[in-house]
């Protein structure tokens, strides 16, 4: 009976794994594209193999015993129950193996932590739910959000599945990727605006939590020109699965060109946001929640919902809108807006609720 089940198991397992056999990278870490990622890759291979070896020895022994020392096979039980020598051996040997693993790991840790002397420093800020980037020495700033259309994500029809399958880089594409030059040491300073996010690009072996109110840093040096994709790797609310990271590694000349373009855009943006009025801000940012009442947000013009809030006084509403209040994010997520603009928006909302 047992062997029959084992056969079924194997019969079920092999076709089940077939689709994946097409490419080995699907079973392993992504192809490394930086020094650290290489070291991590090799470290993983080393430790994986050691574990496999131990596994084979230990469970080979167990299997042997299961086959040979069974009552059905007529084996009589021995009665030994102690042996100090073997117990010392199997305490010390694993310990030595562990030291063997720890040494290369220590070296990699120290290398990972060395963020000194970067060529370029970029500040990445996690927002619910997008990334903001500032090239600290070039004055370039922009946001980077998911580019995959929402309709495609929520399309439940059979065509939807097909369209998704044909859509290149489904969920891994953004409107404004980070652009960096190849072969340069890039230091990324990471922080967040609301909750914890994590900035992760597997190909560079970089993952760093973005902690609101604190800065952390990490670094990478891309080996090759190309586009590398990652995702936010810390649960940050409902859209956590929808805030990817895309890094475009380009030649130095292309990078210089890109920076020049971006500088112009950033300047234009700054000018525009200064002139937005309450209504415009509302329609750009707040409507997402206050238009529909998501998570209990008081709707625009819903007098019953606004009455108790208005009673608190305008100052309280300002602070709640600026600093956040329960499910209401700070500045409604419009972190790039000035306080004055947000206050104007609150005035707009409360006027409509009177």
């Amino acid at each position: 009976m047992i062997s029959k089940w084992v056969q079924y198991f194997l019969a079920a397992l092999i076709p089940a794994l077939l689709p994946g056999i097409a490419g080995a990278e699907r079973y392993n870490l992504q192809a490394p594209q930086s020094l650290i990622a290489h070291e991590i890759y090799d470290l993983h291979t080393l430790i994986f193999l050691i574990c496999c070896a131990i596994f084979v020895v230990v469970f080979g022994t167990m299997t042997y015993s299961i086959i040979k020392h069974r009552k059905a096979a007529g084996h009589k039980a021995a009665q030994f129950h102690e042996n100090t020598t073997v117990e010392i051996i199997w305490t010390v040997v694993p310990f030595i193996i562990l030291i063997g693993m720890a040494i290369p790991a220590t070296k990699t840790i120290l290398a990972m932590k060395d963020t000194s002397n970067p060529d370029i420093t970029i500040k990445a800020t996690g927002y619910q739910w997008k990334w903001g980037y500032d090239y600290l020495h070039d004055g370039v700033s922009f946001y980077s959000s998911l580019a995959t259309p929402r309709d495609l994500v929520t399309d439940k029809s059979p065509e939807g599945a097909k369209k998704r399958a044909e859509h290149a880089n489904y969920l891994l594409e953004v409107d404004n990727p980070v652009v960096v030059p190849v072969g340069k040491k890039i230091r990324v300073i990471i922080t967040a605006n609301d909750v914890i996010h994590a900035w992760w690009v597997p190909a560079f072996g970089v993952k760093q939590d973005a902690i609101p109110g604190f800065v952390r840093d990490t670094w990478f040096r891309a080996d090759k020109v190309g586009i590398y994709r990652g995702q936010c790797a810390e649960l940050c609310g409902k859209e956590h699965g929808f805030m990817p990271i895309v890094v475009e590694v380009v030649e130095q000349e292309k990078y210089d060109q890109w920076i020049a373009e971006q500088k112009k855009k950033t300047a234009a943006n700054a000018a525009a946001s200064g002139t937005m009025d309450g209504k415009a801000v509302y329609e750009k940012y707040c409507v997402a929640c206050h238009g529909t009442g998501v998570a209990g947000a008081p709707k625009l013009g819903d007098k019953a919902a606004w009455a108790p809030r208005l009673k608190q006084g305008q100052e309280v509403l300002y602070t709640h809108a600026l600093k956040g209040f329960k499910a209401m994010p700070p500045k409604g997520g419009a972190a790039d807006m000035s306080d004055a603009v947000i206050k104007a928006t609150v005035d707009y909302l409360s006027a409509a609720g009177k």
């Binding site: 430790i47 720890a102 072996g205 902690i211 995702q231």
Partner: protein, 529 residues
């Protein structure tokens, strides 16, 4: 551990004349066996609820795109699945085992504080009600992960408060339960039952209870801080006030890591009873098992930050926590080797309990190895918060804790019910479980390595096939659990009468009692030779 007990059994079955019957018997009971049964039934119920939520997760992840749930509801499913499985299914199951077995195994008439024991159990239903009802309040259930990291957890709606209070109450229940267990073990052993003669299950629970008393209050502190940050304007986890979101993680994992050993040490205990019984050979290295268990417990207090390697701690911190974590492989290895040495040259038979114990050894160890891979900081940088971690902890929790619970259930069912369970059902349950378990969770290693984050409702195309396999496996694994219920129900309702000791190699005290064990056992302590 031979025992001759001098009291006569007829006396053990005393009349229940002045005892409440029907529902009130269960509500007011001070009997460790009744309370053990209540714990086990509660745990089984919660396991099914948690499993249903898991199935909700797997259904959504069957293919890319948002199929069934809104993302916020998906996060609620994930969070509640984790919370319910950990605090509702696994932990109460082990306390149920402790209640049934510890008094019988040490020759005591009951638990030390039998009335408080009742309360420890009856705190769980209110907690479960609070937890589950959070699905129905505005904003829904907690959705910040079972780790309820601040400041995401301070953003949630009222469901989070219900969750926090539920955790407070479950914590109180655990602390009372553990005080009871420690006191029972330290104070109520039959004469002659020295500490180093106690069955290993009792030892592992002694150490587990110690861990629980040490860390549950810390969890209570952490969630209380979340509560005051949410409602009373404190700034524990808010940088603008001088606090630090990462501090929550330190406090949480100071609880959380010992917590995962709380969920595995009693499993080690069960396996340490089962293997010698079916190998018909004494446990190899009893003393070193005790020392290894204690070392795991002690080490578990100094490794918590291995869950936080990506928060950006100084290199010295990463190194310390990496080394300390790796060290745990040594005592755990000692245990694995001792079990195999117990099997070595035994005379083994493979009834269901033994099958689950062997399955445990095999698959739990795989989970241990992936844990070790996680412990290597640079590798963890890549796989933290990916499905690799999900695979790791289901290997240790499902194939570890849960399989041990299955093993123990089949092992002691004859003692509890007085009937033999159906070996056919049991074996089918085992084989289906282990096969579907691996189909469900093995592909998750690949997903994680290739870069699929955890706690996401939708994923990129390249992860599709493995997710499909995992979802199919989960359906199979879930359905297989219906066999478990069938086996229990069948056994409770009747079947072949069980002898006092149905297992040739089992030699602990409970097997000297008739099956089913009398309502009051060891009213006069047995004499331990």
């Amino acid at each position: 551990m031979e025992a001759a007990h001098t009291h006569d059994h007829a006396h053990g079955h005393d009349d229940h004349a002045h005892h409440p019957t029907g529902l009130m018997r269960w509500v007011t009971t001070t009997n460790h066996k009744d309370i053990g049964t209540l714990y086990l039934l509660f745990s089984l119920t919660m396991f099914f609820i948690g499993g249903l939520l898991a199935f909700g997760i797997r259904a959504e992840l069957f293919q890319p795109g948002l199929q069934y749930w809104e993302p916020e509801f998906f996060n609620q499913l994930t969070t509640m699945h984790g919370l319910i499985m950990v605090f509702g299914a696994i932990m109460p199951a082990f306390v149920g085992f402790a209640n049934w077995q510890i008094p019988m195994m040490i020759g005591a008439p009951d638990m030390a504080f039998a009335r408080m024991n009742n309360w420890s159990f009856w705190l769980l239903p209110p907690a479960a009600i609070l937890l589950v009802s959070s699905f129905f309040v505005p904003g829904g259930a907690p959705a910040a992960g079972w780790t309820i990291y601040a400041p995401l957890s301070t953003q949630m709606g009222p469901g989070m408060d219900l969750g926090i209070f539920a955790l407070h109450i479950m914590g109180a229940s655990s602390i009372m339960g553990s005080i009871n267990i420690v006191t029972t073990i330290l104070n109520m052993r039959a004469p002659g039952m020295t500490l180093m003669k106690m069955p290993l299950f009792v030892w592992t629970w002694l150490i587990t209870a110690y861990l629980l008393i040490a860390v549950m209050p810390v969890l209570a502190g952490a969630i209380t801080m979340v509560l005051t940050d949410r409602h009373f304007g404190t700034n524990f986890f808010n940088a603008a006030g001088g606090g630090d979101p990462v501090m929550f993680q330190h406090i949480f994992w100071f609880f959380g890591h010992p917590e995962v050993y709380i969920m595995i040490l009693p499993a080690f205990g069960i396996v340490s009873q089962v293997i010698p019984a079916f190998a018909r050979k004494p446990l190899f290295g009893y003393a070193s098992m005790v020392y290894a268990t204690s070392s795991i417990a002690i080490l578990s207090f100094i490794v918590w930050a291995h869950h936080m390697f990506t928060t950006g701690m100084p290199a010295a911190g990463q190194l310390f926590f990496m080394f300390a974590t790796m060290l745990i492989a040594v005592p755990t290895g000692v245990k694995v080797f001792n079990w195999i040495a117990t099997m070595w040259k035994g005379s083994m038979t493979f009834e269901t309990p033994m099958l689950f114990a062997c399955g445990f050894l095999f698959v739990f160890s795989m989970g241990g190895f992936t844990g070790l891979v996680c412990a290597i900081t640079p590798i963890d940088i890549q796989i933290q918060d990916t499905y690799y971690v999900v695979a790791h902890f289901h290997y240790v929790l499902v194939a570890g804790s849960l399989f041990a619970i299955f093993s123990g259930t089949y092992f002691w069912l004859p003692k509890w019910t007085g009937h033999m369970y159906s070996e056919t059902l049991g074996k089918a349950h085992f084989w289906l479980s282990i096969v579907f378990f691996n189909i469900t969770f093995f592909p998750m290693h690949f997903l994680g390595l290739a870069g699929m984050p955890r706690r996401i409702p939708d994923y990129a195309m390249q992860f599709t096939d493995f997710n499909m396999i995992a979802s199919i496996g989960a359906l199979g694994f879930g359905l297989a659990q219906l066999l478990f219920v069938a086996a229990i129900v069948k056994c409770a309702r009747g079947g072949e009468k069980a002898p006092a000791n149905p297992w040739e190699g089992a030699d602990t005290l409970e097997w000297t009692l008739p099956s089913p064990a009398p309502y009051h056992s060891f009213v006069t302590p047995p004499v331990i030779k």
